[in-house]
């Protein structure tokens, strides 16, 4: 089977705290019999209100949510049963929570060393210099970090940590899941980081799913060819629901 899609998420349903009084159906694409398919190099922009299931969808793709039914394919391979660390070889993930993507008690230098693609079990000293690409990315995100390599991450601000988390997540030829990755940044930095992330993604032909509450930005990005803006409501896609309603009205149009 030829697999044109980088990500195929079929009929995903995610239920938190199943079987308890706190049960929440956070994602219910099963109801609409919906396949969430993304092409190589495509950028999907997800918007929607708080608690509408955006984070849950990308977490389910990355293997970090309790998927009840449905399946996830990456590069045509069924990864539904894979733990998160196995999928992480294809996926770079910047979380909404800036604290998740970095090690707080390790220095900036050590955090960058971890993200190098080398086996973890090497019993040889890690280098005391950063690669050119890493130095480049530090400069591009506009952080004055060149002199701060020995700073522990918990001494940086939340926004600085989130930018570093982005640098660590950018990997060649991968899928990029960006969950409100600029939420902690000031306007100016936000622009720089956003531009950097998107240009980097384009340069390595990465497939991007980006979550944002910035509707102007979403509209702007949506104008570019290949990009798609989707809105979520209550764990489903608004677009699909609209189409369904129109079908039941007997006036189905796809415009």
């Amino acid at each position: 089977m030829s697999a044109p899609y980088v990500i195929e998420a079929r009929n995903l349903k995610v239920v938190y705290n199943e079987g308890t009084p706190n049960e929440v159906v956070a994602l219910d694409l099963d109801r609409d019999n919906f396949c969430f398919n993304v092409l190589q190099g495509q950028t999907i922009i997800l918007t929607g209100g708080n608690g509408s299931g955006k984070s849950t969808l990308v977490k389910a793709i990355a293997g970090m949510a309790p998927v009840k039914s449905g399946s996830v394919f990456i590069h045509g391979k069924d990864v539904t049963g894979w733990p998160a660390y196995r999928r992480a070889k294809h996926i770079g993930f910047v979380h909404q929570d800036p604290m998740l993507g970095t090690c707080p008690n390790l220095t900036v230098h050590e955090n960058f060393q971890i993200s190098l693609e080398k086996p973890w079990w090497l019993p040889t000293p890690y280098p005391l210099t950063l690669t050119k690409g890493q130095l480049d990315s530090i400069e591009k995100i506009g952080l004055p970090l060149a002199e701060k390599k020995t700073t522990q991450l918990n001494m940086l601000s939340g926004g600085q940590r989130q930018s570093i988390a982005l640098c660590l997540a950018l990997r060649k030829g991968s899928i990029l899941l960006l969950d409100e990755f600029t939420s902690a940044l000031d306007e100016q930095t936000k622009k720089a980081v956003l531009l950097y992330a998107l240009s980097e993604a384009k340069a390595m032909k990465a497939t991007v799913i980006m979550i944002t509450h910035d509707l102007t930005l979403a509209r702007e990005l949506g104008k570019e060819s290949g990009n798609v803006v989707l809105t979520m409501v209550g764990g489903r896609f608004q677009q699909v629901m609209a189409i369904k309603r129109e079908i039941s009205d007997g006036i189905f149009r796809l415009y």
């Binding site: 090690c103 008690n105 971890i114």
Partner: protein, 317 residues
């Protein structure tokens, strides 16, 4: 008198410091409160003493001791990672299981090694030489662990203890890191037990009870001491020297871990020195645990707030 006190506490501190390094690996590098060590300390002594009574040379017994300790640590990690039992309870369970296993290995509650060939039996009478040899052994272990913390493997062990989730998102199965780290930690503790047995001339099935408190006491005293030194150092070195230092590659080495290892060694010495002075001054041996408890409480509450140690240690105990 002071000399003989020093001799005895130095001998003990060097042999026990290897166990304290093990605690540094589990409690500090991996952030894993591992209570298996009470059992694996005795396990080391049990394996060594029963092999020596079976006429194996001690140098062949030592690797086996390390393997046994590694296995004990792995068992705890297995309970925690695969069966979902909490870290503390996993450690307590394996510690308890090890009590029976140790009795099986030894065959009786106490094995005397008198007149049997141990690593140290030829220097039995020369206290100064023993101090030198034990010190050498301890320093070799310290250097090996400092080297480990500079390697990629050591970096990932520390990172896993710090933010396991982040390491997983980098595509690494952190289970292996826990097996490695806690295994190495318990291997160190078992080796320490094996050395102690050879020094004291007997193995006892109860010898490991309370080791975790002894080791933690030593570590915490050492950390407080080093933290105090660091804060004094700020007055000794000018800002300029510190600036020069912080711009060199040397500053990129994992100093927080290396200072933990030195804390372990100095703390072990301070602990055994204070305890032996207390004993000499007439403290009843039965009150030893009380004295240790007070030492730990003092060590934590009187800690001077050195910058490096403070941030590294905060919230970890």
């Amino acid at each position: 008198m002071i000399i003989s006190l020093l001799d005895i506490s130095l001998q003990q501190c060097f042999l026990y410091s290897i166990a304290v390094y093990g605690i540094v690996v589990s409690f500090r590098m991996m952030n894993f409160p591992d209570l298996t060590v009470d059992g694996s300390f005795t396990l080391g002594g049990a394996v060594l003493s029963s092999m020596i009574t079976a006429n194996y040379p001690p140098l062949i017994a030592l690797p086996l001791v390390a393997v046994a300790g590694f296995a004990a640590g792995s068992a705890t990690v297995f309970l925690n990672r695969k069966l979902g039992i909490s870290k503390i309870l996993s450690g307590i369970l394996i510690m308890m299981v090890l009590y029976s296993i140790n009795l099986r290995i030894m065959g009786k509650a106490n094995i005397s090694l008198l007149r049997l060939p141990t690593l140290f039996s030829s220097y039995d009478t020369d206290d100064a030489l023993k101090v030198l040899i034990f010190g050498g052994i301890s320093v070799v272990f310290l250097i090996c662990l400092a080297y480990l913390s500079m390697t990629r493997l050591g970096l990932f062990i520390r990172a896993t203890g710090d933010n396991e989730f982040m390491v997983q998102t980098q595509g690494v199965n952190t289970d292996w890191l826990f097996y490695t780290g806690i295994g190495v930690s318990n291997a160190l503790v078992a080796l320490s037990g094996a050395f102690v047995v050879q020094n004291q001339g007997f193995a006892d099935v109860n010898m490991g009870i309370g080791l975790i408190i002894t080791a933690l006491a030593a570590l915490i005293i050492g950390e407080s001491f080093i933290a105090a030194l660091v804060s004094i150092k700020k007055f000794v070195f000018s800002k300029k020297t510190i600036a020069i230092f912080s711009n060199t590659k040397i500053s990129l080495l994992p100093w927080s871990t290396i200072s933990e290892l030195f804390s372990a060694l100095t703390g072990a010495f301070l602990y055994f020195f204070i305890i032996s002075i207390c004993l000499r001054l007439g403290l009843a041996p039965t009150d030893l645990k009380l004295a240790t408890g007070i030492l730990v409480i003092l060590g934590i509450s009187v800690r001077l707030r050195g910058p490096m140690v403070e941030t590294y240690v905060r919230g970890r105990l």
